[in-house]
Symmetry: C2
Subunit: 498 residues, 2 copies
């Protein structure tokens, strides 16, 4: 563990004397969120609207997520590349719907120094257009396929609505993956494989349950044939889209001329996918797991997994700190990210509070008597359960606790998701549910955009996802469209959304 991550960010908040979270999560969710972001040392603001800076503690969470996902992507045959952040207008313009979809939120570069540019340059809202303008140079035969490339970069979309750190920003960290295939089947498999990788990351690593399925045509990615999505539920009953995987079919390969010679030596347009997930995942972690005391981080991505607080007086400081460091070394050897908080200028109680705000999953305290008894005291951040474990069973005890935390975070979130997901079959109940922000409404839908738009207009709720999992038996109750009452085509999930 790099000591500076913790000490620099903690001491800076410390010096401002703003240690605890002063509002309750249920009382003022929005203010609570802002305080967590600031007081746990995740991020800060700049003077331009909608832009944030990640402090070391916040960026270290992104590094954990990136490291995990990057490995999964490399293991499945993807490589990373680099793309410029500026896109000439004429290129962005090539796929018309795509361009129209992003145009209102594009930042435009018009000058360099004092000179007006001959062509406006767009700050990347996403890289399909730029990358696909180059693909024809890279691809000529089926031997060049599949081409699977990923980019860890940022996207820029001018946010005119209210902004929220990690959830809605004018520039955000993300990864965008792009693949090109020689058959439709292969592209369909790719879309689902990526969705599976995302689901595994979000559910098993971040402990956040999701509902997976398709977007409606209205809600799909501009230019895609279809979009698959993972939707999470936030504590205010709203949905947060946590990742999307798009099948572009040949909607881009045609305007961009991405062709290949197939095995029969005939020229074909290629099949494409694109997909992404972003630092919204951090926003979701904050909202789903955080509590009145502060952030609660899932162990697998916590920058500091275990904080050790030595409890000492002046007469035994040296010995206790030595033991704390020995314990640290043992835990490092077991592969944990550990930090010893040996600062003299703060009391143990003060430190407990600070590390609670920062959401470190496990706190260990060790004092003179513990050393003599060869034990340590462990407190879980998530449920604040305290337990004493003998040092000789350090490895197995710690592993058990870690798994429990990881699992408990998930099951609590899943319980909440289930409670707040309701099947509704009449519009009055539906409307009340949306008015009261009561969560996800599972309802029948005839498939017409008209009904979707009317519902949006009257309730501000969207179709968040058309679940893959259409439960035929249960769905019989929902056989009519919640809005027009005609025969429903699919059972879908409506919710208000971030």
């Amino acid at each position: 563990m790099n000591d500076k991550i913790s000490s620099s960010s903690s001491s800076s908040s410390s010096s401002k004397k703003e240690i605890g979270i002063t509002v309750k999560k249920n009382d003022d969710f929005s203010e609570w969120f802002s305080q967590i972001v600031e007081k746990s040392g995740l991020a800060d603001y700049i003077s331009a609207k909608g832009f944030i800076v990640l402090k070391p503690y916040g960026f270290a969470i992104w590094e954990s997520i990136r490291e995990y996902l990057d490995k999964k992507l490399k293991d499945t045959g993807h490589s990373n590349g680099f793309l410029p952040c500026l896109i000439p207008e004429s290129i962005l313009n090539k796929e018309e719907d795509h361009f129209k979809g992003f145009n209102p939120e594009v930042f435009w570069v018009t000058h360099s120094g004092e000179n007006k540019l001959s062509e406006k340059l767009a700050l990347r809202p996403t890289s399909e257009a730029l990358l696909y303008s180059i693909f024809p140079k890279w691809i000529s035969s089926y031997r060049d396929l599949p081409l699977k490339i990923n980019f860890w970069n940022t996207a820029l979309r001018a946010e005119i609505k209210s902004t929220k750190p990690f959830v809605r920003n004018s520039e955000f960290l993300w990864q965008e993956g792009h693949t090109v295939h020689s058959s439709k089947n292969e592209s369909e498999d790719q879309v689902m494989m990526i969705l599976g990788i995302y689901k595994n990351l979000i559910e098993n690593v971040l402990s956040i349950p999701t509902i997976t399925g398709f977007k409606s045509n209205k809600e799909k990615f501009v230019g895609a044939e279809y979009t698959t999505t993972l939707e999470g539920m936030m504590p205010d009953g709203k949905a947060l889209q946590l990742g999307t995987s798009h099948n572009l079919e040949r909607n881009f390969s045609r305007p961009f001329g991405i062709k290949f010679l197939n095995k029969e030596n005939n020229e074909e347009f290629a099949w494409q996918t694109s997909w992404g997930t972003s630092w919204r995942l951090i926003g979701a972690i904050i909202m789903v797991h955080g509590d009145d005391k502060g952030l609660v981080l899932p162990p697998m991505i916590a920058p500091i997994q275990i904080v050790i607080i030595p409890i000492y007086k002046s007469n035994n400081e040296k010995a206790v700190k030595e033991s704390a460091n020995m314990l640290k070394d043992s835990l490092l050897e077991l592969g944990y990210r550990v930090f010893v908080d040996g600062r003299n200028e703060y009391t143990a109680g003060w430190k407990y509070n600070e590390w609670e705000v920062k959401g470190v999953p496990i706190r260990v305290s060790i004092g003179q008597r513990d050393i003599e008894n060869k034990i340590i005291e462990i407190v879980r951040r998530d449920n604040r359960h305290k337990q004493v474990i003998p040092l000789e069973h350090l490895g197995e005890s710690m592993e058990k606790i870690f798994n429990s935390v990881q699992n408990d975070l998930f099951s609590n979130a899943q319980k909440y998701l289930k409670e707040k997901t309701k099947r509704v079959s009449n519009y009055k109940d539906f409307k009340k549910m949306m008015d009261d922000s009561e969560g996800f409404a599972v309802a029948g839908w005839c498939g017409k955009e008209e009904c979707e738009l009317k519902i949006k207009e009257e309730t501000t709720a969207d179709i968040r996802v058309i679940p893959f999992d259409q439960d035929v038996e249960l769905d019989k109750e929902l056989k009519n469209c919640i809005y027009c009452n005609e025969l429903s085509e699919k059972t879908v999930v409506f919710a208000k959304a971030y």
Copy 2:
């Protein structure tokens, strides 16, 4: 090793049937460089001037460099963060000299969608101004210091001069580090520590010798008190600046109000440093080590360190490929990045050429008879020496060869640097040397910017570096300024530069 890095980029170049480099390095250095970049699959261009895309093979080299440097920075107490790429004009403007220095090359965002922004936003040419506008919120006491933060991002500087991939681009990958200290001494140590880390990376990992020292006032970073630099020599005798580490003293902390309470409870302005290195390092690797056959990568950063070419006929294909894969597994276990090129559609000779263009340090071929004799044939990319090693000594032999390649690349480059660095004591010789692009001229300099400017005007050469290593005995010969003949203050290195 991720198979996709090699196969996708290799097959795409293959399908264009442009396999070898068609000009000699000494005949047309500039065309040779372009061909290497394209044919080895490092990078590609977009339609906007000065911007490049990194293909997987090129980005993988950057990933190797980043991984190495990131670890060194974390080990020395630095953490990573994230900064937006847009900087409000008023912030950039706060340190006047700094702003003036970058203004001509700043890209300006003036609109989002159809709307004119109330304040122009600059695309980050470097992040001092933006970051330092936030530091006052993070720092209040000496306990918050030192603050050591690093960013892996890009910088954008509109290049109006001729551009060159990896060397002069309008957007380039780099890292920029920023530190804040409570004393001048500590900031000075930091500047030198970073320069040492860079020197170790460039000389011991990339095998490129450097001359280290100070920049002249004219050449230092805008806003810095002083700049230290590492200069490498390219095969055309020009200098390439490979990294810089700046002491900003209090030149930024004053205008940005970065203050701290010291131990005596008095308020002081803080001491700062900033430093960076970029993908220019890849440009230097290409130029310094490459040869007429293509790229030559130093083993420590090669994405593929060893390529195995199975030599088979249809009757023994399966057995030979199996052995090749077993060899791969052994080498993976030893920690090498290995790729087996088992493609049937290409001959062994064709594959040899392709991997030579891509600069893979070690090529291993294995055929039926080798398997029977328990040997493999190894060819070094750098000097094309061939040797046969018994499989039972695989580990030690490979390690020896790797170290030799790494060292030989360095000593050859160092020999060249020494040959092309000449001490000159009269301006006529100096001028001829610069006219003929003969390399680095070590000469006396009176310290006046006037002479520096005149020399620049008359020869286009700059003072690249005022070496730390001032050899008092030798420098007696150079006791007069090469231009005005007055007593020289320092012995300096002049050269034309990229």
